[in-house]
Structure formats: C-alpha cells, structure tokens
Subunit: 328 residues, 2 copies
C-alpha cells in the first residue's frame, strides 16, 4: 500500500513534488489539482490525472496527503485551513511573521476535521529552523546567524521587474565571506544587513530605457535594496536566458557558543545547503514530511504541526530498528 499523494497547484513547487515522489517508492502521485483548465496542464507522471480544483472534494477518500503548492502571500492562508477540513495536508508557508496566525487557523480546521496539517515545511522555514532550534538548545550561551545564498531571490527579482523600463531581471543574494568568517571564528560579531549580504542584479532593459536612472532606482529601493551594497549588470535577453535561468539557492545557519565553568571553550555548529534547484529541494523536504503526516494520522493524531513537533524517525522510510542499526 503506497501513500497516495495529491498536489494542489502545479508550478515550480508542484513539479518539484512530483519529481520527489518518483524517488520515494512508498509513495505515489494520484492527482494534480489546478485552477487552470485541466486539459491545458500536462504533467510528467503517466499514472496520475489532472483535475480542476473545484472537484477536489470528490477526492476526500482517495488521497492520503494533499500537498499545497500555492504561494504564501495569498494562496496558502486560505487554502491550507480549507483543505485541512478534508485532507491531511503539508504546506511550505514561508511568511515568517505570519506563521503564528497561520498555525492557529490550520490547527482549528484540522482539529475539527481530525486531520493532520504540517505547515512551513522546506528549508527556511524548515531545515534551517530545525538547525536553529537544535543548536540553541545545545548551546544556550551563544548566538546564531542565518545567511542566505548564493541564490536567486524571487521577491527581489520581481521587485526589479516592476520598475518601468525593465523587461526582465534576476537578483542573486550573496553572503559576504568576511562576515561568514567572523561568525565562524566564534567572535559573535554584530552584523548589519549590509555586513551580511550583497545583492547582485542582472537586468534586461526595454528598448530606449534609461539605464542610469533604473540602476539608481534599484539601488535606492527601500526594504529591498537600500540597506545593501547592490551591483547592477545590464545584459541582453539572450544572456539572461543562457546564464541565469536556474533557480539555485542555499545558505548557512551557524551558531557559536561557549561552554565550561567560566565559558572558556568555544564551539561552532554549522549547517549549510548548496542547492541547484530551490523548489526541488523544498519539495523533497515536503515529501519527507508527507510521510510523517501519514504516519501521525495512522496513530490517530490531529491538528497543526511544524517541523519542531515531529520526531525525526517519522521522516524516514526505514523502520526504527533499521535507523538505530544503520544511522545512529
């Protein structure tokens, strides 16, 4: 009996989930749900079907875990509680500031329906959060630092694209090596936004656009760029396509802490990711937690969970005996 998975929303993340399921023999993709006309959506998995989202309630008893692949801004705040009234669900809600509110909404829906909802699964929030928690619990007298990149920030790329005269753009967030080194030295430096990350932009202009004016507009954009050292490169559409079509990302969670009766010893705990494909890695984390959702449900649990609430063994296809013998 395989774990039957549904996907709601078939963009980069939905396709990533589909690929991740293929690597996990205890799971199968049953159906993809879309707001588009299903006839126009072609998926990779031959054995699965594409349905319109309006038919999703018909699948209540045919899907074990529904993976929600919409965006955090407007899709998930509505979809996750709604779907948790019918399905065990996993989402990757990543608006950090609104997690407590989202948790409560999903928890209320899932408690009422007796379903499991796991929210904010991915790498940040997700694997990075786990590493912040573990390291801070082990080294309470310390400080942690999160660096992102080198990688593509969708939000910053979009912000540039909204500028008049910009045809297309890609923005890379780049951690500053000297800041990483200072943190790794155990000196617990105070670091501003500008100290930690550079922003590098590759911009394709509309014909006749004023490059100098656009560069100035990018560099002074509040919240997005004004607090950072930003470089802007103007390139052709062909170059953008050729050199910047990937979606790499990654980053570092580093905690340095002291132990000893007089805090005489320093320890550095570092977790890092180097990802060729941000959405595919996020999807891979989601699928491991889909397994956990299924197992928690089998135990009769319900309500909203995060990565903090789930024992690691639930993620692995191996039995507890195998895990102890092979991985401990």
């Amino acid at each position: 009996m395989k774990i039957k998975i549904g996907i709601l929303g078939y963009g980069n993340l939905g396709r990533g989930v589909e690929c991740a399921i293929k690597q996990n023999p205890d799971m199968e993709l049953v159906a993809v749900f879309t707001r588009r006309d299903p006839a126009t959506v072609s998926i990779l998995t031959k054995s699965a079907i594409v349905c319109h989202v309006s038919d999703i309630a018909d699948w209540k008893d045919k899907i074990d875990v529904m993976i929600l692949c919409g965006g955090s801004a407007s899709d998930l705040p509505v979809q996750t509680p709604e779907m948790a009234s019918m399905f065990h669900v996993v989402d990757s809600f990543d608006t950090h500031a609104r997690i407590p509110e989202h948790f409560d909404n999903v928890n209320n829906a899932a408690k009422k329906s007796g379903k499991i909802g796991i929210i904010s699964v991915g790498w940040d929030p997700g694997m990075f959060s786990l590493n912040r928690l573990y390291a801070s619990a082990v080294l309470p007298n310390g400080q942690d630092y999160t660096f992102w990149g080198k990688g593509v920030s969708q939000g910053h790329s979009d912000a540039i694209r909204r500028i008049e005269g910009v045809k297309d753009a890609k923005q890379y967030t780049i951690p500053i090596e000297s800041a990483l080194e200072a943190v790794r030295s155990g000196s617990n430096p105070e670091l501003t936004a500008r100290d930690k990350h550079l922003r590098e932009c590759f911009v394709v202009l509309e014909e006749g656009a004023d490059a100098a004016k656009i560069e100035e507009e990018i560099k002074t954009m509040p919240n997005y760029f004004a607090d950072y050292d930003t470089t802007v490169h103007f390139i052709s559409e062909e170059e953008l396509k050729r050199d910047h079509s990937g979606i790499p990302h990654g980053g570092f969670v580093i905690r340095s802490g002291k132990t000893g009766w007089n805090n005489e010893h320093t320890h550095i705990v570092q977790y890092s990711l180097k990802l060729d494909s941000n959405p595919e890695f996020t999807s891979s984390v989601i699928i491991a937690y889909a397994r956990a959702a299924y197992r928690l449900a089998q135990e009769g649990q319900s309500g909203c969970k995060t990565v903090f609430d789930i024992a690691p063994a639930y993620l692995s296809p191996l039995s507890n005996e195998e895990l102890r013998a092979q991985m401990l």
Copy 2:
C-alpha cells in the same frame, strides 16, 4: 520548580554535565554519585552534594533525571538498564555496533519501571546521527559521508600508550581536505579509510626507549593505524602538556543527492562541528535531552528512546508558541 539532575560518574563528561547545568536556569544539579570515596571528590557546584554510588537508591524520589557519565565499554551496558529501573536516565553510549542490544536492555528495564531512558546522546552518535537521518530522508537518491576531526581520539591515544616504552601520547584524527572537497563537489566519490583521514601522533618516550621501533609499531598496528597514513612526532613531556592538553574535536556530515525528473540537479547538505572541548559539547547535548526526558516523563511516556524518537521542541526551554514565533 527546576528539573533536578543527578550525575553518575565524575570524570570529564560528568564535569561537562555539571557545567552545562549551570547554563540552563530551568535545571539544578542535586547530587553527584561516585565509586570513589565521596570525601575525595570535589565538585564545582556549591549547592550539590557528592554521594557514594551504593546510596543511589535513596535518591529515587529526589532526582528527576540521572545522567550516566560512565564509559561505553563496560560501565553503561550494565549501569543504564540498572539505573533505568529507578530513574529517568540519559546516557552517551557510543559503541555503534552494540546500540541495538543496548536499546533492548534499556527498553526492557524502563518499560518495567515506567521510566524514560534516552541512550546514545552526544554528537556521534547524536547530532551527527540526526543529520544523517534528516538529509537521507530529504535526499533519498544520494550518499552520505561522515568525517571526524580535527580532534583527539581517546581510543587511539590509549592504544599508543599501551606500547612498551611509551610514557604518554595524544593522537589527532584529521579529515583529508581533498576528500572533503571531492564530497562537496557532489561527485559521490568512493573513499577508503586512508582517503578520508590522517592520523597524527605526539608521543613521549620512556627513557632509553627505541623511537624507530615504536614508530614502526604504531604505524603497523592493525585496526587503529595500519589502514591510515600516520605521522609520529616524538616530543617532550613538557611539550605534550603545553601544546596537547586540550580535548578538541569535531567533524562533518555531508550528504550529496540528486533531484529532478532525470536527476539533473545536485544538492549538498553539510553539517559541521568545531569543538574546543569534546566532553563539554557532548554534555551540552545530553542536558538538552535531559529536558526532553523530563517532559516525556510528565506526559506519562516510558521506555527507551534515541534522538530519532524525540521531537525537537522537547529540547528547548522555549514554549511551542515562542519557538514558532522566534525560530521557525
């Protein structure tokens, strides 16, 4: 109400646990139990007392969690099941091959007594094991690599000390940078023991000992050195004391894996530790899991657990609400 901790065995690890308790305001050290004459054991915590291990049963209702700080070779296989009949316990049993057997023994004792026993807590087994599990669950199509060091191997240092003519010795395990780089490149190399680690030995000779013969004996010692490139330095007792009295350690768990419909994307997940004091870091992990043991016990759970079985939130002094708001 603080969590009342007892320590059984007051060597490097026991002292490390004592220091870790000082950093966690929700815990207090109540008593240290020793096989030595308690009058000869002086501890750092003014408010705690030293007792002989033969009196430990009198403390059944006065200690919430007993930390077992004996060795894995002969102490813990006996002590952990025995103590689990009276106390919630945490140990750092690290003989990987015997973990399944140790688990069963502790589980039987703890199930009978209704206590919690958490075994094999530290960094390997422990934090490294967690990272092997998480990374392999997320990237099933991949391979993981564990490197140790640079750090002092107690077992290898002891092996040198047993050679006739050796007065004292310290052995460092050193990961080979080119092997680390090959793994980080995502090429999934096949690596022998010799490819992964160097062994560097600092040896103090007895007067009149034959250096050449001892060097040969070290380098050809089966299991310990024969399968590695080993360098031997003969130094004075003063130099050993001055330059090699610390107990640093650390290492790397790296998993590289592929995702995508045709495995076209590579991801590198890396966890590393750089520790000034191996026993103090191990103790710090143990104390976080002592908090988990206490909370699991309050929920009425019993039996043997490992780091795989415990949701991360149990380790932190923060509430679930605080964790979601601050760390997710």
